[in-house]
Amino acid sequence: MLDSALELVRLQENGDLTAVEIAEKALASVRDTQDSINAFTHVAAEQAIEAARRVDAKRAAGEPLGILAGVPVAVKDVLCTNDMPTTCSSRMLKDFRPPYDATVVSKLREADAVIIGKTNMDEFAMGASTETSAFGLTRNPWDTNRTPGGSSGGAAACVAAGSVPLSLGTDTGGSIRQPAAFCGITGMKPTYGRVSRYGLVAFASSLDQVGPMAWSVPDVALLLEAIAGFEPRDSTSLNQFVPKYTDVLQSSDLRGLRIGVLSETAETAGIDPAIMDVVNEAAKVFQSQGAEIVEVNLPHSKYWVPTYYVIAPCEASSNLSRYDGAHYGHRTDSIDMHSPDGPLVSAYCRSREEGFGSEVKRRIMVGTYALSEGYTDKYYNQALKVRRLIKGDFDAAFSQVDLLLGPVTPSTAFPLGDKIDDPLQMYLCDLFTVGANLAGLPAISLPGGSDSSGLPIGIQLQAPALEESRLLFAANAFQTATDHHQKRPSH
């Protein structure tokens, strides 16, 4: 019912449904699934109905409406909203109510979207399973004993559970694409700077990017169209024309398109063979639509994960230092006035000790260590150099091919608790996704099949910077030829 934004827009235009009716259905679905899935940290029922009413009134008055008029959207709880809490699923920001909206949230409101609430995530977007949330884990609608992936686990699960057709996630190392793959939906990480980060609570500033999540490519294109664009308050935002992404989806003729398949992927140890089968199958689909498949090599791909796990924690250790209990965020009740370091340092230490969960602390420690005197050159500066080599690999590859095809994840959705005590295993979930973040490139994850237990498997397409249209065009062609994106969990 609620699974296509474009369909909901049409239904309202035809007078078959009102925005209020749609919002009520979405809210009812959230209520029905919240206990079992726990996709939301905050449900904004009143504001949603109010927003829907405004849409209906505007429509009745014949006023122009935005492209997301009356469409329910869920927003990852790392994006600032001036009328709802923004917690980053952390105890630290449990009571934080920003006085402003993130640019993407303003853009949703301008597009007349109906914001249903804030979705659960790994604390400060650090994790690949949504198990590090301070507000309880989120479950995968395909199998509630399994993780929805992370860190945008709530954002993926609320779409997969059929509560909302669209959600906004953020992707620092794969946090949109991996949960999209685990939940059988489509998720895109745009080019770094394509969508403004203003109001996105920073995890790793040079890698973070907001992106759309939905069942199918046309909805992803619609949501991207609504949120992309230049923001003068964000120095890293790109001042580039935003194409009408929904316009590129007319044809599924891929003749002339060269798609590179990463030759070393097949050799990567530990990858589920079912996933490689799905990727190979997808290559054939593209081929059948006229694309040429070429084998390519990214020589430094084995350094993606180590490079990422130096740069991201370094930036995180800095970005998270503002949560000191002095200005906002959790403040301890038990400052030790007689601490040998003095009461101030005691206040900092205890506030941070109590406010942050263990994964966040681990990354702060790693980042602080890697940036500290004597180690900067060994770790951080070295990682920056490797990052440049990684970018160079992509440049070289894209001089031969138009897109890259590969897996999203090494496995399908794993059982809850499986990796939570093994950080290194958890980090390997990002094996295929972090490259796009390190190089700032757009990438999309879309349903490509399922494993023997019926769990979704994702395939990933990556494109050169600012080639979102090419990515969407090819992904849409794939969905025209296949029905993987139409499968729904039985839950």
Partner: protein
């Protein structure tokens, strides 16, 4: 301190608050004195999700300053984060510049305080932009110690100018600061109000002592919170003395003790220890990923160069070359700023007498400005009026004392010099009138005539005084000349 050869080594870090309307990374006002926390926004408060955007005006002011202190401006500069925890630092890091500052490798020529006629070359390592932090105010009421934080100042643009340790005495430090302030005022890049914190000086100081042919260095001390040039000078004088006595007492050298930080207590006139063992601070600098590196095209630098005008040092040299002023006099005038320099130049143009103009401006004009607590722009006597008056003095039409009367009259009345003289009854005394007056005095004072004829020429002074009494318009020089001529004839 006389038993050993001692060299004082001082390097300065001067924080200059740049005169931009808005902060370095957001649109908040930089105005001083607003109620606490009223000039703040998500960006300067470091709220989660807020992002900095560079204020281009600050870049231009930094470039202008850098050029004026002979720095090179690199093609590319970038932003770095300097991490430390402090209550008045909302983000937990300060956006600053680390390895690629906006200005590098400059110098300042200062007049050697020990010798007016020579200059000293003080190297400038770098000048970098950074955002200011907020202010903590400690309230200690009824046993409670409350700290209140005002974040209005957060994000205000600062240019930190770091000198080489080339300064050798507190007097040189004062001279350096004077020159620097002069340039900053000339460029209109800062208010340079030490009391308001728009100019803040930290000094690193130690002594190099020659002892038994061995050279040792005393531990380095950073002296902070000095809020006037005078305080800087006195703090350093105190610190130099203290370091020498300490060394004589404990013999500790730079190898035995890490750098310490001392504050200056102006009322007790002494420095006091603030941080005993300065831990080697690990600021974990890294490039700020929220801000892109800045490319500075050569045209932008050239554009800035065109706006500099004649810099104070060049003006000082020109006043010496063009008007024959002494270095000291040229300095005094230029130190008063561009408006007074303009005033001086016009007075010289009208009067044709640079030395007299310089001395009148330094004495009469500057004293009056101080008494009236006013500026040269609002001064009652225009440069044209003073020029006209001094022209008459040089021509011998009026003596200095009477000219001061005219000057005083002009301060009170908006009239021309001629009208002022007329109102004061000052007229030119012609030579026959003067001859008659002098003859009359000589006739009445034969003893003076005898003394002068006997070689005691100074005896004539008494008659000059009497002549002034009989006719206040008589020019003393002319009277003297006439008296001597009549005695000898």
């Amino acid at each position: 301190m006389s038993t050993h050869q001692v060299t004082t080594v001082i390097g300065l870090e001067v924080h200059v608050q740049l005169k931009t309307k808005t902060k370095l990374f957001c649109g908040c006002s930089t105005e001083f004195g607003a109620p606490p926390n009223t000039q703040v926004c998500p960006v300067c408060l470091g709220l989660p999700g807020a992002l900095p955007v560079i204020n281009e005006a600050a870049i231009d002011l930094a470039i202008r300053t850098g050029l004026a202190i002979n720095c090179s401006i690199p093609e590319m500069t970038k932003w770095d984060r300097k991490q430390y925890f402090y209550p008045d630092l909302p983000k937990g890091y300060q956006i600053s510049q680390f390895d690629l500052p906006i200005c590098a490798d400059g110098y300042l020529e200062i007049v050697d305080p020990a010798d007016d006629e020579s200059t000293r070359h003080i190297g400038i390592i770098r000048a970098h932009l950074e955002e200011d932090a907020g202010k903590s105010m400690h309230d200690e009421v009824a046993g409670k110690s409350d700290t209140r934080i005002d974040l209005n100042r957060c994000g205000t643009p600062l240019l930190e100018i770091v000198s080489q340790p080339d300064l050798r005495s507190p007097a040189e430090v004062r001279e350096y600061l004077t020159q620097l302030k002069l340039i900053l005022m000339h460029l209109n890049v800062s208010d340079c109000e030490m009391q308001e914190g728009s100019l803040r000086v930290d000094a690193n100081v130690n002594l190099h002592i020659d002892t038994d042919g061995k050279k040792i260095a005393t531990p380095i001390v950073e002296v902070k919170n000095m809020n006037s040039f005078r305080a800087v000078e006195r703090a350093l004088e105190y610190e130099i003395e203290r370091q020498y006595i300490d060394w004589e007492t404990d013999g500790l050298t730079i190898d035995d003790r890490a750098k310490t930080t001392r504050g200056w207590d102006d009322s007790k006139e002494r420095t006091f220890i603030q941080r005993e063992k300065e831990e080697s601070a690990d600021y974990r600098y890294f490039p700020d990923p929220d801000l892109l590196p800045i490319r500075i095209p050569a045209e932008r630098i050239e554009q800035a160069r065109l706006t500099l005008g004649e810099l104070p040092q060049a003006t000082i040299r020109r006043l010496q070359d063009q008007h024959g002023l002494k270095a000291y006099d040229a300095n005094v005038i230029v130190n008063q700023g561009p408006a007074l320099i303009g005033y001086f130049e016009r007075v010289v143009e009208v009067s044709g007498d640079a030395k007299r103009s310089s001395s009148w401006i330094q004495q009469d004009v500057m004293r009056t400005l101080k008494e009236q607590d006013t500026s040269i722009d609002a001064f009652a006597v225009s440069s044209d009026q003073l020029g006209a008056l001094l022209k008459k003095v040089s021509a011998g039409e009026i003596d200095n004392a009477r000219a001061r009367d005219v000057f005083a009259y002009l301060l009170e009345h908006d009239v021309s010099v001629d009208e002022a003289m007329k109102s004061l009854g000052i007229e030119k005394v012609d030579s026959s009138e003067l001859d008659a007056l002098c003859q009359e005095l000589l006739d009445a004072n034969p003893q003076v005539v005898a003394d002068v004829q006997g070689g005691k020429v100074q005896a004539i002074g008494a008659l000059i005084g009497q002549a002034k009494k009989k006719n206040p318009n008589a020019n003393p020089g002319k009277v003297r000349e006439t008296l001597l001529r009549l005695i000898q004839s």
